[in-house]
Each structure stands twice: as C-alpha cells, then as structure tokens.
Amino acid sequence: MRTERKRLLAHFALVVVTLVMLYPLVWMVASSFKPTDEIFSQPGLIPKHFEPSNYAEGWKGVSTAFSIFIENSLFISVAAIIGNVISCSLAAYAFARLNFIGRRIAYATMLVTLMLPTHVTLVPQYILFNELGWVNTFYPLFVPHFFAVDAFFVLLMVQFIRSLPRELDEAARLDGCSPWKTYRYIVFPLLRPALVTTIIFTFIWTYNDFFKQLIYLNDVQLFTVPLGLRQFLDSTGDSSWGPMLAMSTLALVPPLVLFVTFQRQIVDGVATSGLKG
C-alpha cells in the first residue's frame, strides 16, 4: 500500500519533469503552425488558425532558399563522417592491435588532446586555412576530420577493438593476412556498432556546430543551417516569429530522425563513453 503510493508519486514527479523538458519543443512545433499574433497571445498548443504558410515563407528564406543551407550542412556532415570513419578506425586499429615503439606515449598524447579546449588551436588554424586560401570554403570544416582530430572516436574504437577476441587476428595472421587485410576484412566489419555511434555523433556535432561555420563561411551561398537560422534573426528581427520557428523546427528534424531510429544506440553510447549530445 505504502510502496504503491510511493510508486505513483515517483511516476507523477517524472511526468512533470518530462513535461517541463518537452514542453518548449512541443510549443515550438505548435507555434510554427500559428499566425504570428496568435503566438504572442496564448501559451496553448492547438492553433486556432492553422498556418502552414510559415513553412513556405521560411523555406523561401531571407535572401537565399533554405534548401541551399540544408544541402550545405548535409555535404559538410557527410564529408566529416567519411573522414572520421576512415581516419579514426585506422588509428584505433594501430593503438589497439599493433606493437610499435612509442605506442604508450602516442596513446597518452592522443588522450590528452581529448581534454584540450578547441580555442587554443582556433586562431592558428584560422591563420593556416587563411594562408591556404580555404577561408570561405567548406574545406576547414571537414578536411581535419580526415586526419583523426576527433580523438574521442579513436578512443571509442580502441576500446571496442580491445573487446574483440585477439584469436581472430591471430587466425588471420596465420592464414597469411597482413595487418592491412586483418583490419580491412576482419576488424573493420566487426567494428560496426562503434562506427554507427561515430557516424551518428559526427553528424549531430557537425550539423549543430555554429562556431566554426560562423568563422569560416562568409558567402551566403555557402551558409549552413545554423548560419541560415541566425540570418533570419538578424534581418527580420522578432517580427516574423512564425517562419523563424518553422525553420527552427525543420532544422531539428535530421537529428530527431536519427535519435528516433537509433535511440538505444545513442543512449547506450552516451552511458558507456560519456559522449555529450
């Protein structure tokens, strides 16, 4: 009897917390279908006047079609994913399975780079890319990923490879496989769960990253989704809430689709490795 009441109380508390967590998001989606004056006047969710034109207007964008921003964001994200998958898995295989001189030092160095604030390399990286003539191109946003700069994923994969039975490698070696073939045909395919986590988080981080895109992209034709949203804010101020919230809602769709599809994997990935969303 008492435990039953406590259980109900716990559920009640959790429902309240969940509502508070989700309400702003639901409010955004609901408001994106309301005419602007209605957004101001009432906190309720159901629009009195259903206004899908917010999406049409937002999609046209301020000066450039929103579809271009989405294309640009997708391009950068996919390129970063390809880079991370290849370069991080190569490095992880070496750290986890190969014996070489200086392995401990190299591995420790990689771990230290995990803790480094990005700001400390920001200015010289900008200068470097500026010298290369890469400012106002997509290169600074994805090329570094081909060189395993995301130590986090290397660590994730090292831990995963260590959990694979060594006998597999041994057997492959006895059959005359070189380390390359062992990596390519045995370790890489088995690495799939770690690779999926890498793909999901690389996508979300690259897609959401505002700082680097703000610094490197000036040309509106190269703008990404975050920059596009910001442009909205600048030129139309607070006058057209509807289209702005419509495009904000749209901007959250890709990460949301990923989340719904890979919920288990994302939550487990966060739990085991301390990844942050």
Partner: protein, 305 residues
Amino acid sequence: MTVTYPTIRRERRRVRYQNGWALAFLAPWLIGFFAFTAGPMLMSLYLAFTNYDLLTAPKWIGGGNFRRMFGEDPLFLQSLKVTAIYVAVGTPLSLCFALAVAVVLNRGLRGLDFYRSAIYLPSLFGGSVAIAVLWRKVFNGDGLVNQILALVGIQGPSWISEPHTALGTLIALEVWQFGAPMVIFLAGLRQIPREFYEAAQVDGASRYRQFWGITMPLLSPILFFNLTLQLIRSFQAFAPAFIISDGSGGPADSTLFYSLYLYQEGFVNFDMGYAAAMAWMLVLLAGAVVAVNFIFSRYWVHYEN
C-alpha cells in the same frame, strides 16, 4: 609446466614490433596531430605574446596581452565573471537534477525507456542554433514563460533584455540539458549490486542512510567524471550566448561569455594576438579548475581497492 612450440611462437610474434605498419595506420592521425593540434598550439603560444592583425607581421610585445587582460580591459574581466557564474551555478544545478532524476528512474519503474529518452532529448539538440532561437522566443517579453506566469497573475520581466535576468535564461538552458549526465548516472547506478541495499534494509537503514552510505560512495567516480566533463563543456559555451544577444554579449555585457569575447576580439576586431592569449588563459583557468577538482577528488571519490 611445459612450454609448447606454438606458445613460444605466439610470444615471439607478440613482441615483434610492427613499426612500419603502425606508421602507415597512424599516418592520418600523426599528420592531424602535428598540423591541427601540436603545431597550432605552439603557434598560438607564440602569438599570445604578439600583436597580430592577420595583415602585418606579428609584433612581439612580451606580456602585453596579459597585462591588458587583467589591468586595462574591464570587458575581459566581465567575460571572466559571466563565465564563472555560468559554470558555478549551472554545473551543480544540472548535476543535481541529473542525479535526482536518475535515482528516481533507477527504482525499476515501468516506462523507464520512455522517460530516459524524453529527458535526454534536449541534450541531443545541445547548443544548436535552433534551440537558442527557441530560447530567445520562450524568454522574450511576451514569450512562453511570461504567458504561463500571466496565467497565475504574475507579470514577468523581459528576461533576455534585462541585465539581471539574461544570464539566468542561459543557465536555465544549460540546466534544461541535464539529460546527458543523467544517462551516465543511470548507467552507474545500475552497476551497484542490489545486495548492498538488501543488506542495508535488513539492518534497518533508512532510504536516506542508504543513499549517503551506499549510493553516493559507489557513484562518486561517476559524479567526478560528470563534473569534469560538464566543467570543460561549460567553459566553452558559445552558440546560445551569441544568438540570445545577437553576438553582442548584451544587455550591458551580462551575457558576454569568455568564448564570445574571444570571438569578438579575434574574428571581429582581428586582434589575433589578444585572442590567442585569451585562449591560453582559458586553458590555464579551465586546467586549474579541473586540477583542483582532481586534487579534491581524493577526499570524496571512492574507488574500489
């Protein structure tokens, strides 16, 4: 014990170094490390002692940038203050929420997956611009928060344009994303053997005693991990502050985060030397906080063995 031939062979193979192969596999990482991390770090260390505007050659000014930070630049001190408040208030608050909800969720209630996912969702969107835009709307003078307050007859302020409340809205945004540390806590709580609690119950320990006697000590390494992660993350907050204040850090510099000021100095004013110096100061400050955290952890983090 007899040593068989395959064992020796395996042993020898294990010791044999594969330097060439390792170099090939590590080549991308090595290039990346030197080109995008180590090299730039050395360069920014040098630039921190110079005046550099990207157009003319860097001019060595010794400790000038650092003297400017602490002696002649009230905006720098302001950005330090804003970030310090953000970290000192936001981090403990979000960890408390995360821990409390994780403990409740760990009671084996039905619907755990749903609650966990729903509460994690805001963290997934993280510091995205879409969420910052939403936040700006939610805390606007006639936004959601004030509409709800109006229902109970309270006339709320214009949160984001008042210097006293603007930073609070950003802290609220950080706390709203407590789902990520919560998921980590939850994983940690699941590692604690049920028998400990059963034994404590037999001894008649209250839930309160159980929490402080069993849960907290066994969870302390996870708490420490979450704390460190959250600290490093909070120090670097940027996008929400930028969006809320349109890049200005206003009203009255009340949301001038450290990263935002660094961005303004480096990439708006092109004072690259000063920005580099600020970046190193951030490394020192964040490093010091993390180090203090590590040192104190000896007294409250319990590791088995």
